[in-house]
């Protein structure tokens, strides 16, 4: 079972926090912080698995993470999950985000936090993997998006606002970063600390 899914940036700012097991608020924040410190210490060329430590259930739990440009995606799972399987699940999740947001970047995660949650809900439900088929997930999300579009172009406005933000705050040209099998254009977001 998946205990928690955490996404934070290179500076430890949480971008998505989803717990499937009950932790008090302070402990949640502590887990995010400690996970960040654990993950930050690690080079890129060492393995993607970590032991959860005393915070989340001890040695039976593993942290499985991937690092994409400015973001860390960390899944905290117990021993009943396959490590490599989860590693690819993260990939599926990110690829789906990429499809839904068209070249996903950290900003998308910030400004569409709710949407990211909806996408996640289609992949993982109550700590169990619900769907791993990307097309299916995207289809679900699109069905929901249609609802939104129907609200009289309301979504267009925020989208414009976001792209304006993107343009204003991005002096540098977005760079292409190779992450495994797909290319996600990720802008340099150093000012988002």
């Amino acid at each position: 079972m998946i205990q928690a899914i955490l996404v934070f940036n290179n500076h430890g700012k949480p971008r998505l926090v989803r717990f499937y097991q009950r932790f008090p608020e302070e402990i949640q924040q502590q887990i995010v912080r400690e996970t960040f410190h654990l993950v930050l210490k690690r080079d890129d060329n060492i393995c993607n698995f970590l032991e959860g430590g005393s915070l989340i259930g001890g040695s039976d739990y593993k942290l499985i993470y991937r690092h994409y440009a400015t973001l860390y995606f960390v899944f905290c799972v117990d021993s009943s999950e396959s490590e490599l399987g989860i590693l690819d699940l993260i990939q599926v999740f990110v690829e789906t985000l990429d499809k839904c947001f068209e070249n996903v970047c950290e900003l998308d995660l910030i400004f569409h936090m709710d949407k990211v949650h909806y996408i996640l809900q289609e992949v993982v439900m109550g700590g169990m993997v619900l769907e791993t088929n990307m097309n299916e997930i995207v289809a679900q999300i699109e069905a929901q998006n249609k609802l939104e579009k129907s609200e009289g172009g309301l979504s267009a406005a925020p989208a414009r606002a976001v792209s304006a933000v993107k343009n204003i705050n991005l002096p540098e040209i977005p760079r292409n970063i190779n992450i495994g099998d797909i290319n996600i254009k990720v802008p340099n977001l150093s000012q988002f600390v």
């Binding site: 709710d114 299916e136 976001v162």
Partner: protein, 1146 residues
């Protein structure tokens, strides 16, 4: 899928219109959403945490005002919710918005509802009280015709739902299993899985539907049901063996590419599904050759099909390997799996290497040669920059440790230990090092040094067993007396030199170990006078950082040392100083020491040198005070009551009258019962309770108590099973002939490889080679055995000497002890080997026979180190420890009075009376005769112990002939579980003698009344077997025990239980008095009266082993309203029935 889109699209125009009508233009919307934008932007512009906090607090304040305002539209609310979610994510509490999130989910349109649900699932937890408000919304949405709404409701249910409200939605969700859309069915299955997790008994009835889901035509639904099956099979594999075929078929189809291409991930068909199925098959096939047989083919195919192209195929391969090594082994598959592991280990990718190491660790016990094959890789991993890889490697090395490589491996572990800071890593690693050091230490110095390192690093976080084991090892020693001395001497010396170091701080546990060893063994030092050591200890004692617990240890050590010296100034000083200490404990110690010092003779006898392993006979019943107590009682003093009893009475006193008769005068009965207590060295609390003394001798004899405490931890029997179990738990290696040749080949291969490599490799490489040879020494063919912990050879000097022999010796020498200690375990022992038994028949003394049988059993249990038997051994010693043992004081001696009939009768009576006397602290039934014939009589008695039901069978041989091969067999039923072996055999029962057997019975399935039947079989001389059948009725009440809790706890428990039953029953006039009615319930049903308030009473009980049930009773106009609550769904019904019965009867 397309259907949903369609459906949604049809709903769109309506939504659209609704928004047009309600929302007005898009202008406010922009401003609303840009509020989130501006919030985010301003947060990111900040530089300090403090500023962020200020800003968010402001934001929260404005949000609070907005959401509370009556004119806030739902749409605005939705935006507010998103901002609240954002604030919560950053760690700021926004509980004021929770209720609005629920409202939004209740009232909003689709989009708003979605945000509301999301916010609820992020904000609240399962036990949050607000969640109850959501239940209606969920029920409504589940019934909605809009698929999106249904989906949302199912999602929220599977994320977060109050357990007690499950019944409200369960039928709706069950219906959804038949829904035409697969996405709905799938989510419904997930929701049911959630229910299974949080309240398994509530979904028990729909297991059939799970099976239907497994056979669903849609793959997604089937995959979802696998979650449930994985879980249920993990809990109880045997119940789902029949599904093995289905799982195999599914996996075959998946592997064979029968699924739509849609399910491919990097052209691998449904990899996650495969992983799931492989896990299930592994669980099903474990230790089950027949089931495993079914899976061999598909595993082979999976291995073959998984072409190494992508990470995910490795995931499948890893799972395959895991499964192959889990199920009943098949050589060909194992070979293939071993090759696969090679691929992992040798892979340049770190992730795969990690998994390879993990797999190696897992299989190393079955196949030690694999470690040899990969030794160079393992060496490399040992110095890997990644600490995770390093740790996994150490774990692997830990499993292959033997006497030859132990020092290298432990050194590596210590190195790692020095670098790591994580507490849980330290704890586990320290434990492993201590275990290895104990098992394989090559020498005294090494052992002590290693343990010193362990104690210094592990300090106060390590498991308390480590120092205790260590001290026990030192104290009990090994077979060689000289060796023991050397070891102890070395320990003393090393501690003295450690204490020499100025300003060195040692963990408290280490100090405790030191002080114990110094106190006990410093006499071994030739030159060192106790004075020097006392001075050192004194310095520790006055150290500020020493805790009071450690001080007590040190004080005990000083006391021991004082008895060896004549006069010591330091001791005088110490006594003086601590006699005025503020710490009462220390002060007491000081006074004790002072008094002991005045009486040197007493001190010497109390603290003999090097006698830590011998039992000190303590008159814990304080019988020497009996006279004093009797005097006090005669003069009208109240008998002593333990603290908890007083408390209880205090609680109930104000409210209930005491209906129990006053106790008998104590002075007359006391002396006799006190005597019985005194005779038995083990009898402690029994007589002291009766004589009205305090059993808590407590502080009085702290010195001797300290010793006792230490001994208890390392008690002769206490540790034995644990240790042996550990040694035996490694599965036995099948000695395969080809194995050794294979190893040799591998060795040669490696040698060749080594040689060729050595030519053109650097110095560094040679270093690694050397390390490899030291690490993997002893892993070769001949010592493959030693890997598996089978090596109880001479080389392992630090293995504890077998406690069995010890026990045996003791038992043989003192038959008196045997009768009391080995009786109960004996009765549980399954005897299969009748030869053994017969060979002892010549012996006259029954006690002796029993003891040798006992040890014989123990030995045979240990010889065939199979796990089950070890388990029995564990039981065995657990039983033998359980105080007070039945039949103390030789009550089993055979009587030989002149008149046979009379004698057996007398015998039985004496047995019964002794039985009852010994057990008078437990409630028990009368002795009931079950069956008899001219030769034999079987009777039984129930003893309602606090933690179990004990059935005692008495078999009386009435005849003047010997009964041989007496077998007692209890028929096993699904309702009961008998903790011991249900059968029992006496090789012979002498004429006119009585035997007794006891069984611990547990309830497996709830019932009101059920018969437990059995039979006895026996032989008279060479006649055929004669069989007698009997049965005894057990009722639910035999398993009900009072639960002593306070009113407050009752309240808490009451709220936490979901299952309740209410019933009004008529009560007779006599019961109109509430306390009286409650008293009836207390006596008849063994309920505990928690409290009585006005005309209401609350009672609590629990069903063994630990299912609580609470009762609330309200008496009103001849009616009693009974209200039961329990964590078990059926227990209230059963109890209600019993209650009714009792009320009617009385």
């Amino acid at each position: 899928m397309s259907d949903i889109v369609e459906k949604t699209l049809t709903a769109l125009p309506g939504l659209f219109l609704q928004h047009q009508a309600a929302g007005g233009s898009g202008v406010p919307r922009v401003s609303v959403s840009s509020r989130l934008g501006s919030l985010i932007r301003s947060i990111t512009a900040l530089t300090s945490k403090h500023e962020e906090e200020k800003l968010i607090q402001q934001e929260l304040a404005s949000l609070k005002a907005t959401v509370a305002a009556p004119n806030t539209t739902l749409r605005l609310m939705k935006e507010c919710m998103v901002r609240l979610i954002y604030c919560e994510m950053l760690g700021y509490e926004s509980s004021f918005g929770y209720i609005h999130a629920i409202k939004l989910a209740q009232q909003g349109n689709l989009l708003e509802k979605r945000v509301g649900y999301l916010a609820v699932s992020l904000f609240l937890h399962e036990n949050h009280e607000l969640l109850l408000l959501l239940v209606n919304t969920v029920v409504k949405d589940l019934q909605s015709t809009n698929l999106v709404e249904v989906c949302m409701a199912l999602t929220i249910v599977s994320q977060i739902f109050p357990r007690e409200m499950i019944p409200a939605v369960l039928p709706l969700i069950e219906d959804k299993l038949q829904h035409s859309k697969e996405i709905i069915r799938r989510k419904a299955v997930q929701a049911l899985y959630k229910f299974h997790l949080i309240a398994p008994n509530q979904v028990q009835h729909i297991h059939v539907k799970f099976r239907k889901a497994l056979c669903d035509r849609d793959v997604g639904v089937m995959a979802a049901s696998l979650h449930i099956y994985l879980r249920m099979i993990k809990e109880n594999p045997s119940a789902y063996k029949d599904l093995t075929g289905s799982f195999v078929t599914i996996l075959k189809q998946v592997v064979g590419g029968k699924l739509p291409v849609d399910f491919n991930y990097h052209s691998v068909p449904a990899p996650w599904l495969q992983i799931q199925l492989l896990r299930i098959l592994g669980l099903l096939g474990k230790d089950d050759p027949r089931t495993s047989e079914l899976t061999y083919d598909v595993l082979d195919e999976s291995l073959r099909r998984a072409e190494l192209s992508h990470n995910i195929t490795y995931a499948i391969l890893f799972e395959c390997v895991h499964t192959i090594y889990t199920i009943y082994p098949k050589p060909e598959l194992l070979e293939k799996a071993a090759r696969c592991i090679g691929k992992f280990v040798l892979s340049p990718k770190i992730n795969l290497k990690y998994l390879g190491l993990k797999a190696l660790t897992y299989v190393i016990q079955q196949d030690p040669n694999l470690a040899l094959q990969h030794q160079m890789t393992i060496i490399e991993c040992l110095d890997h920059p990644d600490p995770i890889i390093k740790r996994e490697t150490l774990e692997l090395l830990y499993r292959i440790t033997n006497a030859q490589n132990v020092s290298v491996i432990v050194q590596k572990m210590l190195e790692y230990l020095q670098q790591s800071k994580e507490e849980y890593i330290i704890i586990s690693l320290v434990g492993k090092i201590a275990e290895l050091a104990e098992k394989y230490a090559p020498g005294n110095e090494w052992f002590i040094q290693t343990m010193n390192a362990v104690f210094s690093v592990g300090g106060d976080v390590m498991h308390p067993d480590i120092p205790n084991n260590f001290l026990r090892l030192l104290a009990e020693g090994f077979d060689d007396e000289n060796e023991d001395k050397q070891l102890r001497l070395y320990a003393v010396q090393s501690y003295l030199s450690l204490l020499e170091i100025e300003n060195a701080l040692y963990p408290q546990r280490f100090l405790q170990v030191m002080s114990w060893v110094l106190g006990e063994y410093s006499y071994l030092l030739d030159k060192g006078t106790p004075e020097i050591i006392i001075t050192k200890l004194y310095r520790l004692l006055i150290n500020k950082s020493t805790t009071s617990e450690t001080k007590a240890w040190i004080m005990a050590a000083v006391t021991k040392l004082t008895s060896q010296t004549h006069s010591s100034k330091t001791v005088e000083k110490l006594i003086q100083e601590f006699s005025v200490s503020l710490d009462t404990c220390m002060r007491q110690h000081a006074f004790e020491l002072k008094h002991l010092q005045e009486n040197v003779e007493l001190m010497k006898s109390l603290l003999p040198v090097d006698k830590s392993c011998e039992d000190l006979v303590v008159d814990a019943s304080l019988s020497f005070l009996d006279g004093f107590v009797a005097e006090g009682l005669d003069q009208g003093a109240a008998p002593y009551k333990p603290h908890h009893q007083r408390q209880e009475e205090k609680l109930s006193q104000g409210k209930v009258l005491n209906f129990e008769p006053y106790g008998l005068s104590f002075s007359s009965t006391m002396s006799s019962s006190g005597c019985t207590g005194r005779q038995s060295p083990a009898g402690i609390s029994l007589s002291s309770d009766v004589s009205g003394n305090s059993a808590e001798t407590g502080q009085k004899e702290t010195n001797s108590l300290k010793l006792e405490g230490v001994k208890k931890l390392w008690g002769k029997e206490g540790y034995l099973p644990k240790k042996e179990n550990k040694a035996g738990s490694s599965p036995e290696l099948q000695p395969i002939a080809q194995d050794s040749t294979l190893v040799e080949n591998v060795d040669q291969m490696i040698m060749k490889k080594d040689q060729s490599q050595a030519l053109h490799h650097s110095e560094e490489e040679a270093e690694k080679q050397r390390l490899a040879s030291t690490l993997f020494v002893g892993l070769g063919s001949e010592s493959a055995v030693s890997l598996l912990g089978k090596t109880d050879t001479v080389s392992h000097k630090f293995r504890r000497k077998s406690k069995i022999n010890d026990t045996k010796n003791r038992e043989v020498t003192s038959t008196h002890n045997i009768n009391c200690s080995s009786f109960s375990p004996l009765s549980n022992a399954p005897y299969e080997d009748n030869d053994h038994l017969n060979s002892f028949q010549d012996k006259e003394d029954i006690g002796l026979k029993k003891c040798s049988l006992g040890s014989e059993f123990l030995e045979s249990g240990l010889k065939s180190e199979s796990l089950t038997e070890l388990h029995l051994v564990e039981n065995f010693s657990a039983c033998s420890l359980s105080p007070p043992s039945l039949f103390e004081d030789n009550s089993m001696e055979i009587f030989h009075p002149p008149h046979p009939t009379l004698s057996s009768f007398a015998n039985e009576i004496s047995l019964t009376s002794s039985l009852l006397e010994e057990l008078n602290e437990h409630v028990h039934s009368d002795l009931v005769e079950l069956c008899n014939n001219e030769m034999l009589k079987v009777s039984s008695c129930k003893i309602w112990k606090d933690d179990c039901l004990l059935l005692v069978w008495l078999i009386v041989n009435k005849s003047s002939l010997e009964l041989k091969n007496m077998n007692l067999e209890i028929t096993s039923t699904e309702n009961f579980k008998i903790l011991e072996h249900p059968g029992f055999c006496f090789p012979v029962i002498e004429a006119e003698s009585t035997k007794s057997i006891q069984h611990h019975v547990q309830m497996e399935k709830l019932f009101t009344e059920e018969d437990l039947s059995g039979c006895v079989k026996y032989k008279v001389e060479e006649d055929p077997y004669i069989q007698l059948e009997f049965s005894i009725t057990l009722s639910l009440l035999d398993f009900i025990r009072p639960m002593k809790i306070c009113t407050e706890d009752f309240g808490k428990l009451w709220l936490s239980f979901a299952n309740d039953v209410k019933q009004n029953i008529k009560i007779s006039d006599s019961q109109a008095n509430l306390p009286f009615a409650l008293k009836t319930l207390q006596q008849k049903l063994r309920l505990h009266i928690v409290d009585i308030i006005g005309n209401e009473g609350i009672l609590a009980c629990h069903l063994l082993p630990s299912v609580p049930c609470l009762l609330h009773l309200r008496a009103h106009e001849g009616m009693a309203a009974l209200w039961f609550r329990s964590s078990c769904s059926t227990l209230p019904d059963y109890l209600l029935y019993q209650c009714q019965k009792v009320m009617e009867e009385s």
